[in-house]
């Protein structure tokens, strides 16, 4: 019986959540863009083969403008820019999401621990957070990806460990607010240890806010990935939007006026990042309706 009541409540809560979210037109637009991108990225191997991406088997001319055969023209090795842009979405999304997860996990841990324990551990953690908050993170990420073994994993680590500070600040504030509530005291009186209070009570209460923050962070992580790839720190073996732009510049697409090579990857980045930003802002309003007046 109790289980069905709980399910009933969860269903109503989810329905309310979906309804409030659906009232945000820009949030819906963001969701549509992201959904479409995800479908394209996941189904790409069905219609793009390794031959399309191979420099050796490419059939087009060098930097050919758009035509019927190549809707977005060709790159410097005669490959279709359209096929490259579609395949590029996979690495860009993967790195963006993975780096964000790493960053959010670090940020949430630091924020929750700092708020829960207080005293000197908190002082140290927050000083570290403030330090990472002001640092020019791109410079730090550049150094990390230069020193470590090159590859997608390094990029993920470099972005993840340099971008957690604002999440930590946010989570700390939220944890402090939640731990001031009586039910936390009740849990402690009943013998709940640190792990129990943090895991069972604080974490579920903090998670919604973290989710909205995560959505906003993915956008910046995707931009970071493309920036690092553009600076030549990406994985040279795989195609991402950043490595495409790097190749475009190196092959002289700017002086050749090859706009069809520069525009598609860039517009793809802008669309996806904007999609994540709009979704994140809509989520924030759903979670904190008071914000709606200020948007």
């Amino acid at each position: 019986m109790t289980a069905s009541i709980a399910w009933e409540r969860r269903r109503t809560a989810a329905a309310r959540f979906a309804r409030t979210y659906a009232e945000q037109r820009s949030g819906l637009a963001g969701l549509v863009v992201l959904g479409a991108t995800l479908v394209v990225a996941l189904t790409a191997p069905l219609y793009i083969t390794a031959d399309d991406l191979s420099v050796i088997t490419a059939t087009g001319g060098v930097l050919e403008p758009p035509s019927a055969a190549y809707p977005l023209g060709t790159d410097e090795s005669g490959r279709s820019v359209l096929a490259l842009t579609i395949m590029g979405s996979r690495i860009s999304l993967l790195v963006g999401v993975a780096a964000t997860l790493l960053s959010v996990v670090i940020g949430s841990l630091v924020g929750m621990l700092a708020a829960h324990f207080g005293g000197w551990p908190s002082a140290i953690l927050m000083r570290l957070t403030d330090f990472f908050l002001v640092l020019p993170s791109l410079v730090l990420a550049i150094v990390l990806s230069t020193v470590l073994q090159r590859g997608a994993f390094t990029i993920i680590v470099a972005i993840g460990v340099t971008s957690w500070a604002s999440t930590a600040r946010l989570v700390r504030a939220q944890t402090l607010a939640i731990e001031a509530r009586p039910y936390i005291e009740r849990a402690q009186v009943l013998g709940g240890g640190h792990a129990h209070v943090l895991g069972k009570h604080v974490l579920p209460a903090v998670l919604p806010l973290v989710l909205a923050n995560t959505t906003l962070t993915v956008g910046s992580a995707i931009i970071s990935e493309s920036t690092l790839a553009f600076l030549g720190l990406g994985d040279p073996a795989s195609v991402s939007w950043g490595t495409m732009l790097k190749a475009a510049v190196d092959s002289g697409a700017i002086t050749a006026g090859a706009w069809w090579y520069l525009l598609p990857p860039g517009i793809a980045i802008v669309a996806v990042v904007l999609g994540f930003t709009l979704c994140g802002r809509a989520l924030e309003i759903v979670l904190n309706p008071a914000l709606a007046a200020r948007r």
Binding site: V134, L138, V147, L148, T217, G266, I269, V273
Partner: protein
């Protein structure tokens, strides 16, 4: 990364409301400067940690793509002192830093300190100009948008800001370069001065200004959007305040209510955020300078990572991070001077 693109945190999320209020002026100054010193120490440790403690081998990174023989590698290791035990390396590193010696660049065969000092001015010129324009534009548009909340003007400026927020700086730079420098040929494509130089003081200033337009435009486009959003949201928080009703009741014109009462109060949290995001501007400088070959610290960083030139990269990391920390300490001190609520206690 501190986010290349900071999330839409509002001023109240980040500003510590109690910070520096209930304590004496001197104690506050000392605490702020102490915090800055701790940050500087962390930067020094970070510089060491990044290049000597992490599993990546700097010598291997430097000789990547060039198979060196074991003797060469050993000689390079000895040159950087990498054959010493770690504590000894750290002491040597601290001693060198204290003497202002950041080592010798692998690529340029010059002291890193000289290279950095030589590239400082172009970066200050570019980021300084871009910052001033972005702050002015962002605050002005942001306060107008908030004041006419929900109007067509508000919707348009907010939408533009959100889109520009989502644009990678380097890509915008590439497009600007292709359109204005290559296709239309209105501005130079690279550098800070015309090759061969220009005679006379004023022609030289004009020449630099001509080269400055495109990089500056790119930086402003990406940076002002954030200031706009921060200013807009902090002014919106003030919009319902009682003191505005009082100001209107005593007969002030709407324009004066905004300029004399609402905006000054909304400015304070905005200033904090602006300085917190200086790191973001510095990150932008790296990509903009790379795209436009602007001879500053950002381009130097790019040139160092392309080799890779480890001593130079370590030097620019320390220089850029220290600059950001110093700016933030200065901002904290200035904030206390300009906030009357803090000043009078």
């Amino acid at each position: 990364m501190t986010d290349l693109l900071p999330s839409t945190t509002t001023a109240t999320d980040l500003a510590e409301p109690t910070k520096g209020r209930a304590q004496g002026g001197l104690a506050f100054v000392l605490r702020t400067i102490g915090g800055g010193l701790i940050s500087m120490a962390l930067i020094v440790v970070l510089g060491f940690f990044m290049f000597r403690v992490l599993p990546g081998d700097p010598v291997r990174a430097m000789t990547r793509d060039r198979p060196g023989n074991p003797e060469q590698l050993a000689r390079l290791r000895a040159e950087f002192g990498l054959d010493q035990p770690l504590p000894q390396q750290f002491l040597d590193y601290l001693g060198d830093l204290a003497r202002g010696d950041l080592g010798t660049s692998y690529k340029y065969s010059q002291p890193v300190t000289d290279l950095i000092l030589g590239r400082l001015w172009p970066t200050v010129l570019l980021t300084g100009t871009a910052l001033v324009i972005s702050v002015a534009l962002g605050l002005w548009l942001g306060s107008r948008a908030a004041w006419r909340h929900g109007s067509a003007f508000d919707r348009f400026t907010t939408a533009t800001a959100l889109v520009l927020w989502s644009v990678p700086t380097f890509w915008l730079g590439l497009i600007v370069l292709m359109v204005f420098a290559v296709a239309l040929d209105l501005f130079p494509t690279a550098g800070m001065t015309s090759p061969g130089g220009v005679d006379g003081f004023f022609p030289a200033v004009l020449d630099v200004a001509h080269h400055l337009v495109l990089p500056c435009l790119t930086m402003v486009a990406v940076v002002y959007a954030q200031y706009l959003m921060v200013m807009r949201s902090s002014l919106l928080e003030e919009m319902t305040a009682d003191y505005l009703t009082t100001a209107r009741a005593k007969g002030l014109r709407e324009d004066l209510v905004r300029r004399r009462h609402a905006v000054p109060n909304a400015l304070l949290p905005t200033i904090t955020i602006i300085f917190l995001q200086v790191g973001f501007v510095v990150s932008g400088a790296v990509t903009v300078e790379t795209v436009f070959s602007w001879p500053g610290l950002g381009l130097l960083t790019y040139q160092a990572l392309a080799v890779p030139d480890i001593p130079l990269l370590q030097g620019t990391l320390i220089a850029l991070s220290s600059a950001v920390v110093i700016m933030n300490v200065a901002a904290d001190l200035v904030y206390r001077l300009v906030d009357p609520r803090v000043r009078t206690r």
